[in-house]
């Protein structure tokens, strides 16, 4: 509470987000977090309560600082092609959507709080893509979002798979 934590919490959360985005939740151990984040194990538990607590903080950081700004940019795109271009160009490798993708696949089915975060972002993405001018969206609602996520998924497959370091 009153005592300073002795580390930059935002920086730790940001680094954790990168780690979880590349290696998935189950692929990151507390040993990995302690080694990569430069935080003592006890501080980690004291601050975040659990690995899940840190993961939730990382996911929320990702949503606020990576996914939401990207969605705003997509909302200003002229058409889907431009939206897709913006989505895949952000942060060079398009990693602005990666933690979201991983969360959707891995944690959302098992964790209602993660599912709620992911759903909110997907809904915002639907809205942003619908707001783009150009031809009406093909197929049911969410098709463009799915196409965008699919493009990112394929990009991840063909990229070198370099880690956060």
């Amino acid at each position: 509470m009153g005592r300073p934590r002795g580390f930059d919490e935002t920086e730790v959360v940001r680094a954790a987000a990168a780690l979880f985005a590349h290696r998935a939740y189950d692929g990151v151990s507390i040993d990995d977090l302690v080694a990569h984040l430069g935080v003592h194990r006890n501080s980690l538990y004291k601050t975040f309560g659990s690995k899940r607590g840190l993961y939730m903080a990382a996911l929320r950081w990702h949503v606020e600082n990576q996914a939401r700004p990207l969605i705003a940019a997509i909302g200003e795109a002229r058409d889907f092609a431009e939206a897709a271009h913006r989505a895949l160009a952000v942060h060079g490798d398009g990693s602005a959507l990666d933690l979201l993708l991983m969360a959707a696949v891995e944690r959302a089915p098992a964790d209602p709080e993660v599912a709620a975060e992911v759903t909110a972002v997907l809904d915002a993405l639907d809205e942003a893509l619908a707001a783009d001018d150009g031809a009406p969206a093909p197929g049911p609602a969410g098709t463009l979002t799915s196409a965008l996520l699919g493009l990112r998924l394929r990009a991840r497959t063909t990229s070198s798979g370099a880690g956060p370091e």
Binding site: S29, I30, V34, S50, K51
Partner: protein
């Protein structure tokens, strides 16, 4: 070895077998509102444990009982670190519990399901 169960609004940790003797404790009950989370953490055994009081500590064999470190009291009951689960608490006698359970993944899911149910 510990058995972790949820009894209404309470987390119950039952210390089983001879570990009761080493840990000098057979049962811990904690209101779920004071449970912050649970984590499977095989690497936690490598942490410094602090000062034992009271309990048993034979490094590499058994860590059981109350340990004091950095002004915190931590309860340990671990022989096989691969099955260690860390349960973080708030406003309790212990800052956290580090206990060995039969199925760490199921125990973490049980605790988190109870603590974070909407």
């Amino acid at each position: 070895m510990a058995r972790v169960q949820i009894d209404g609004d309470t987390l119950v940790v039952v210390i089983e077998g001879l570990d009761k003797l080493w840990a000098l404790k057979s049962r811990l009950t904690i209101p779920l509102s004071n449970v912050r989370g649970a984590t499977h953490d095989p690497g936690v055994i490598m942490e410094s444990k602090g000062v034992r009081a009271p309990g048993t500590h034979v490094p590499g064999v058994i860590t059981a009982g109350s340990f004091h470190l950095d002004g915190e009291r931590v309860f340990w009951d671990v022989q096989n670190p691969a099955k260690a689960v860390v349960i973080e608490l708030a406003d309790e006698r212990y800052a956290r519990l580090v206990v060995q359970v039969d199925d760490p993944r199921a125990t973490v899911a049980l605790i988190e399901g109870a603590v974070f149910r909407a």
